[in-house]
Symmetry: D2
Subunit: 342 residues, 4 copies
Amino acid sequence: MLIVMKPTATQSEIDRVLEVIDTLGFRPHPMPGASRTAIGITGNQGAVDRAHFENLPGVADAIRVTKPYKLVSKDLRPERSVVKVGSSVIGGEELAMIAGPCAVESPDQVFEVAEVVAKSGAKFFRGGAFKPRTSPYAFQGTGEEGLKILAEVRDQFGLNIVTEAMDEYGVDLVEKYGDCIQIGARNMQNFSLLKYAGKASKPVLLKRGLSATLDEFLLAAEYVMAEGNYDVILCERGIRSFGSHARNMLDLSIVPALHKITHLPVIVDPSHGTGRNYMVDPMARAAVAVGADGLIIEVHPCPEEALCDGAQALLPNQYLELYSQVAAIRKVVQPEAETVSV
Amino acid sequence: MLIVMKPTATQSEIDRVLEVIDTLGFRPHPMPGASRTAIGITGNQGAVDRAHFENLPGVADAIRVTKPYKLVSKDLRPERSVVKVGSSVIGGEELAMIAGPCAVESPDQVFEVAEVVAKSGAKFFRGGAFKPRTSPYAFQGTGEEGLKILAEVRDQFGLNIVTEAMDEYGVDLVEKYGDCIQIGARNMQNFSLLKYAGKASKPVLLKRGLSATLDEFLLAAEYVMAEGNYDVILCERGIRSFGSHARNMLDLSIVPALHKITHLPVIVDPSHGTGRNYMVDPMARAAVAVGADGLIIEVHPCPEEALCDGAQALLPNQYLELYSQVAAIRKVVQPEAETVSV
Amino acid sequence: MLIVMKPTATQSEIDRVLEVIDTLGFRPHPMPGASRTAIGITGNQGAVDRAHFENLPGVADAIRVTKPYKLVSKDLRPERSVVKVGSSVIGGEELAMIAGPCAVESPDQVFEVAEVVAKSGAKFFRGGAFKPRTSPYAFQGTGEEGLKILAEVRDQFGLNIVTEAMDEYGVDLVEKYGDCIQIGARNMQNFSLLKYAGKASKPVLLKRGLSATLDEFLLAAEYVMAEGNYDVILCERGIRSFGSHARNMLDLSIVPALHKITHLPVIVDPSHGTGRNYMVDPMARAAVAVGADGLIIEVHPCPEEALCDGAQALLPNQYLELYSQVAAIRKVVQPEAETVSV
Amino acid sequence: MLIVMKPTATQSEIDRVLEVIDTLGFRPHPMPGASRTAIGITGNQGAVDRAHFENLPGVADAIRVTKPYKLVSKDLRPERSVVKVGSSVIGGEELAMIAGPCAVESPDQVFEVAEVVAKSGAKFFRGGAFKPRTSPYAFQGTGEEGLKILAEVRDQFGLNIVTEAMDEYGVDLVEKYGDCIQIGARNMQNFSLLKYAGKASKPVLLKRGLSATLDEFLLAAEYVMAEGNYDVILCERGIRSFGSHARNMLDLSIVPALHKITHLPVIVDPSHGTGRNYMVDPMARAAVAVGADGLIIEVHPCPEEALCDGAQALLPNQYLELYSQVAAIRKVVQPEAETVSV
């Protein structure tokens, strides 16, 4: 059930609706929009009786939602969301560029890349301190030490830190040291982790699972939002397919498909999405052309020495060239809908 | 690196090798076999020098392993493993039948099914107390209350309990109430959970992820074993494909492929693997014919009222009919290799 | 539209219905069944008025068909079809075994295999004279010479010949020399070829395309039948997926799915379906256990010298061992529905 | 084997090499490039002895080719090919725009669209007279009558005609009435058709099959070229995947992958590649951004009345808007390599 308030509704009318929802034993999710506030209701087992709300002052409509998701939906919030991440935003007019090494290896490696990223004009820095690796014998990340290095990058370069958490312990640490909690593709349906991140105070960057449908992807975001954390950014990073010309199949068609249904920002990771250095640039251009709100790009000063995923990392100068190309394309592509700050 | 001891090696010769491995800062994984003991070495970053071991008394060979996995491999243990689960085993001559409802809903529902399962001669009972659901608004399971009901089933019917854990809290509870910790398909690459289960004292039933390759599947098992828990059972439960005639694509060819590489038992879940009631019986027959070591079958007294996955559950009498058919096929199919108890 | 005649309908009543369909400018497809005749109508652009038929003598019902297929459907013919192929049948009580080399290479190679196949009790011999090869530089088959060798196999061993046609020229030659026209997976949606085969006088063995859905597969069969050739045998031979442990993903779940919808016989090709010698035996057992009406198995006296697909061919003694195993499983699996000869 | 001539080689030196190849019983494929001529050799069963060529006058090198394809490869021709189609080219500096209705339905419908397409500045007109339809009961095209309408479009608007052939009869007719023979995705491995088109005098536009790997796609093109028709244009049009948000999964990563290996032009069909009207525009932008040499776009004056694929057709004004957007992106994206006319 979705309660849509009138544009003229007062705060006390909104509070009255929240109170009624609470009294019924359900959970209210108020979402203030540009012109009016909508309130999602979750926690109900069956259908909720519209009669509880229709005649309350300030209520414009009580809509039954038949789709499996509510909070991610444009029904709840027709304007695109702009998510605040540290000192900047993702989902606004400016293309969000998140760049950095796959893994935090050493202060030197990180600072060398951070300097390039800051100089390029990007606002976000990525780097993994906890690495989900297919093999238990592969490099597993530098942990809290790595997060401390990332925190220094923020202090020194003013870059906002996006970094992955693999479990509750990781979420706590990323909240402490970083600006955005990344949840990786392999954990997209780790529902315990999603719920925990839903209680965190930092935004969540949720990567699409390798075989996730659009509905499953949105419902994973719904898990986070249903716990009260509405700051979710969706990220396409390639799906599994039969081909071998790229490591994964980057599914750019999901960008317009998501923008049609959800108000959440959608970004693209062409580095993991292709796994091939030479494809990152053309696929980054395509991602911006298709309307993505941002990009995540792996940059490494010395890809052949990288402790993970070196084959897809760009050299600093390749990254700068990429950024200038996508910026030119961004100017051509007008974002399709008005966006409004949360 | 794999150290293969001579058949005549004494326990003190084995202990000496373990000590050397420890001294080098690595981790030894002794695996006693029918005729000889093999010792896997993990924790090394680069190659281990064979010279450390070749001349120790009782050592037959020191083999460099180039495959990504070690402990799951038949190189380490040529005989098939028979995993003890509660009072019975999986991987032995007898087909392991694990049956029960998808979710634990109420004592009545559970006991009604348990009676049928016990009567059929099956040794294992399944039922989820924690349910990984695609939507946050779907029934999430009855939690610890459900586990207590399952524990009663064991006491009353002598059935060994296989039930899913979704996080560390769940692993602790399943260790307390159940006999086998199931890790679901969506958590197959939840590496933090795999490591935690690797420290548990109960065997782990690991389901293949929906887009997991054979190597990824084996490496997930390797994560559990690398922590010291060698009692792992692999389970094929359907992968994602383009078709819509079944909910998932049950990949039976992975059974002989796994048996060729790993000593671990391999079972099949035709209920989740097809998602269609009418397909469970023929695909269960096929799974046994292809050489699976066991089956997991969903049974519900009243599928149309099931709180989850009713469309694939069998009625008790359908289940009994299935069991008699697969038992007849099992008699025809001779397990391909000798098996030996751990 | 489907006209179902009464069990008591006379031939002249049936003829009258055929005449009316013809007069309306449509095409009638009479399908005599065990207890009654059904007549499919094709060639209509929109809906056909039931009033034309309802009151004709001998008509039991005129059913509007909303499914995309008609002639393949059990609505038209509830009993399973038994297709006559040369001197034997496919779809009957006996498991149909079709065995032979991938390609016809030389008389010696062919006769050596044919002797084994005949001795095993199989009724059908396979062997390609026209080979669809991914590369234009690979061996393309021995053409008409090869077909003449196959015709000699029939004369000498009494085996019925199943062999592939890739174009109209090939269909004509297979009609001349063989007993069953195989249409390969890559040509499953070569609609011109399907239509041409639909006018042939020999039965058609239609292989599922590598990415064909169940509906697309059935509609390809419908193309053949709509031209008047009702003797179609469906063959699952593996689909494309992301895994690499087998060359293709053999989808056994399509066997019960097809049997639920269509009256046509369904066989399985575990040789192409896995592409791995060691998997052919277990997957053949599984195919019979799941209810397939037959198998196609590649046998070669010297697989490592085969001009194509040697990696999946069985040695003669492996083939004989396989046959004895699947025969034992066939005895256990009772065909699920009564079958009736056409 | 690939014979690379010196830049200074004379025509008589080239002719001498061709003669030697012929004498050896092989087939020569001379490919004149910007700076030098290369000659591919096909028809050899095993390896060709380099000694035959190394010392001939004018020969720079004789290279053994280990890849499965030769004529499509950049080894043979390092510069990108520019294919002449009627009065214009595909693969050159200008983005090739091919637009028109899915099917030729009537003169009025075709001329209405043709006028818009001509006005937009596009040089190519598409429209199917033979339609490969999944169901035998769906509209199968207007045949030769449709081709005559398309020929009139060329006469009246100066547009070059791209239209599909499904069999040899169709190839003959398209050669007569059209400018480019399209081979559809379902026929990508109809090798008899590929060979026949390889003998035609008009260029071939080859669409990628729904489950074709990059190698299979290139080898299909190689089939056409091996017969002597070197004017092949490759077209990505979506592959089969598990998702349902689009009808197919448009694989844009194959564009840079193909450009890395082959000299042939690569275009993209976002209409069939998505099957959704609202996705055509963003995916067309992405295709141009990724570096495609052209686009095929379906335009229909009245999509909801279209006899096929209406859901994906653009209205004329949507098409014009799309064209202006992709033209702006094309200006930003510099083609990565120099191109040279054949």
